[in-house]
């Protein structure tokens, strides 16, 4: 007996409507970016649901060597890639200790590490900017990678700890009973089995690093070292009065599409990774 008097068919229809609304809510702005990027400059203000004529002129404009946008994408790849590798390397060991070993102040240390990720980034950017000016690090990759560790490392530790916790204790003990040292058990049993978790954490960390804006904006002032998010924020037209919306949308699509493809391919795992800490 259901407590409501709504007919099942009506309820099913409402549910479908709700699902459609959620999907439309999430995808409509993204679709608009895609459609706008495919319009010709002359009909950019059309506001029709489909472009009257599909054109790739915006993409040609963005990828024109004079815009240095390819360079910006490469910079983003270098910064986010190195940040991810460094964060994962340190976080794997730490997360293993957090999930598998018993030691004093464990909860305190883990809380401390996670708390750092909620730190206002600007609070470290301001002093680091001054220090890096002194080091001559402005417009270098390390000036973006080092501060990025402040939020990627806690994120990676948090995610990996949740993954290591899910693995049954017995695996490792069985390996150690068979004569492995703890180090060998870690290398030969835990790491291969945790590979999906490490991979997922790598994706989440990479996306966080790829999307970083404040650090990259503050630490650079030359176009050839800027990351893609900073480069597109500075995309200006030939004149001050004409904003190249079409090119901006095309650039936005180019920055986003790799992430969206990765997200679509590994959606199940990413959702598991993102919610691992929350669903206790």
């Amino acid at each position: 007996m259901t407590s409501t008097t709504v007919h099942p068919a009506v309820r099913r229809a409402l549910l479908w409507l709700g699902v459609a609304a959620v999907v439309a809510y999430c995808l409509a702005p993204f679709y608009w970016m895609l459609v706008s990027s495919l319009r010709r400059t002359s009909d950019i203000f059309d506001n029709s649901l489909f472009p009257s004529r599909i054109s790739f002129e915006n993409y040609r404009a963005v990828l024109d060597p004079s815009q240095e946008f390819g360079r910006a994408l490469l910079n983003s790849l270098v910064v986010a890639g190195i940040t991810t590798v460094c964060a994962l390397l340190l976080a794997t060991f730490t997360a293993y200790a957090m999930a598998r070993l018993e030691f004093r102040c464990k909860r305190f240390v883990l809380t401390l590490i996670i708390a750092t990720s909620m730190f206002p980034v600007v609070s470290i950017v301001v002093p680091l900017l001054k220090m890096f000016v002194g080091f001559g690090w402005i417009n270098t990759y390390q000036a973006m990678i080092v501060p990025s560790m402040s939020f990627t490392l806690p994120l990676a530790v948090w995610n990996l700890t949740a993954f290591f916790r899910q693995m049954p204790d017995e695996l490792e003990h069985a390996a150690m009973i068979d004569g492995c040292t703890r180090g060998q058990a870690f290398r030969k049993v835990i790491i291969p089995l945790a590979a999906p978790g490490i991979f997922t954490t790598a994706i989440i960390t990479f996306i966080a690093a790829w999307n970083e804006f404040l650090i990259a904006l503050s630490m650079t002032n030359k176009p050839d070292i800027q990351t893609a998010p900073v480069a597109i924020s500075k995309f200006a037209g030939a004149t001050r009065f004409e904003t190249p919306f079409g090119s901006q949308m095309a650039a936005g699509v180019l920055v986003t599409v790799p992430l969206v493809v990765v997200v679509l391919l590994f959606q199940r795992r990413i959702v598991a990774g993102l919610t691992a800490g929350a669903a206790k």
């Binding site: 699902v19 060991f93 200790a97 018993e102 609070s123 470290i124 002093p127 080092v146 069985a174 949308m249």
Partner: protein
């Protein structure tokens, strides 16, 4: 599985003991006792992370605190000579913030607070609604899950650009509502634009976290409630909300602290140095970019203290628990 392979006579003492330990642990789910060997190994494994965080977070914070007591180099008003080092100014940066530069600071402070409260409140309501819909949906889950990840994956910088285009005076937002609002100019509509864009980007994320919380609630609880005659609303208030509360509180805490440091979205969507949407992060960054490190550091310290107090309030008043207390399985 643990005891099948070896015949009983081959069991030597320590092996059998550790095996029994492992079996007992697997059974009871209790953490093992701390041993001195594990403590040393743990210190070795954890210290690199702590060292890096000390260098990139703790040390800069201390430097910021120190910098906030220093002024900017330039002409010394007392001697008329050019100084090449930062003069010590004591609390001048702070008194300046609450005095001469007070208007800009308080504006940024209230903007930050207002944007945080409104976005987090809207995101929570919308996120919970989305989670309830997704939880009920039996088919098409993969499509919903994939589409809900899209706003999360789009860089905030691109989100800002995208919504600036949507909110253009000749853009689609004005076409849809049939009005001519200059969204990206100063005024309340600029705040509204930032709120709409931020809610779009992060409500699905909250929905995802709440959905994970919903999925661990067993169906029997609902069935029992229905037997007792509880209606849909009653079930939501008395079962769903209390049971997803831990997951929801963590999500809200994360979102709140993230919103308090909001920077990218107003910076790109509306622009730098716009009174309507300037947040504390934007103010501090603006000062630092103009080589006024002393005041910038003072703003950074104030924001840090603000964020810290809010986090403390969450943990103390609401009992938000960042770290799960016991080892529990996460549903696949």
């Amino acid at each position: 599985m643990l005891t099948t392979h070896n015949p009983p006579d081959s069991l030597d003492r320590p092996e059998a003991k550790s095996r029994a330990d492992a079996a007992r642990r697997a059974f009871s789910g209790r953490p093992r006792k701390a041993t001195s060997g594990e403590g040393g190994l743990a210190a070795l494994l954890v210290s690199p992370t702590l060292l890096v965080l000390a260098i990139v977070v703790l040390y800069p914070t201390i430097v910021a605190l120190k910098d906030s007591f220093y002024g900017t180099p330039g002409l010394d008003p007392k001697t008329g000579f050019v100084r090449d080092h930062d003069p010590f100014v004591g609390l001048d940066n702070y008194t300046g913030i609450f005095g001469a530069a007070g208007d800009r600071f308080w504006n940024a402070f209230w903007n930050t607070t207002f944007l945080t409260v409104t976005t987090v409140a809207l995101e929570t309501v919308l996120g919970v609604a989305m989670a309830l819909i997704m939880h009920r949906a039996l088919r098409g889950r993969a499509v919903v899950r994939a589409s809900i990840l899209v706003p999360w994956a789009i860089p905030t910088a691109v989100t800002g650009l995208l919504w600036r285009w949507i909110f253009n005076s000749d853009g689609v937002a004005n076409t849809l509502i049939g009005r001519q609002i200059l969204w990206t100019t100063e005024g309340f509509h600029a705040k509204a634009a930032v709120i709409i864009a931020d809610v779009w980007k992060t409500a699905p994320f909250i929905g995802l976290l709440v959905l994970a919380g919903l999925q661990v609630i067993s169906k029997e609880v609902y069935e029992a409630a229905r037997m007792d005659g509880a209606g849909v609303l009653r079930q939501f208030w008395s079962i769903t909300l209390p049971l997803v509360k831990p997951a929801l509180l963590v999500a809200v805490l994360f979102r709140t602290l993230d919103a308090l440091r909001m920077f990218d979205l107003p910076y790109i969507l509306i622009g730098a140095q716009k009174t309507s949407v300037e947040t504390l992060s934007m103010l501090a960054q603006d000062q630092a970019a103009n080589v006024r490190f002393g005041p910038a550091a003072a703003y950074a310290v104030i924001l840090f203290v603000y964020v810290f107090l809010i986090a403390l309030a969450f943990v103390r008043l609401l009992g938000t628990d960042l770290v799960p207390r016991r080892r529990t399985e996460v549903p696949a």
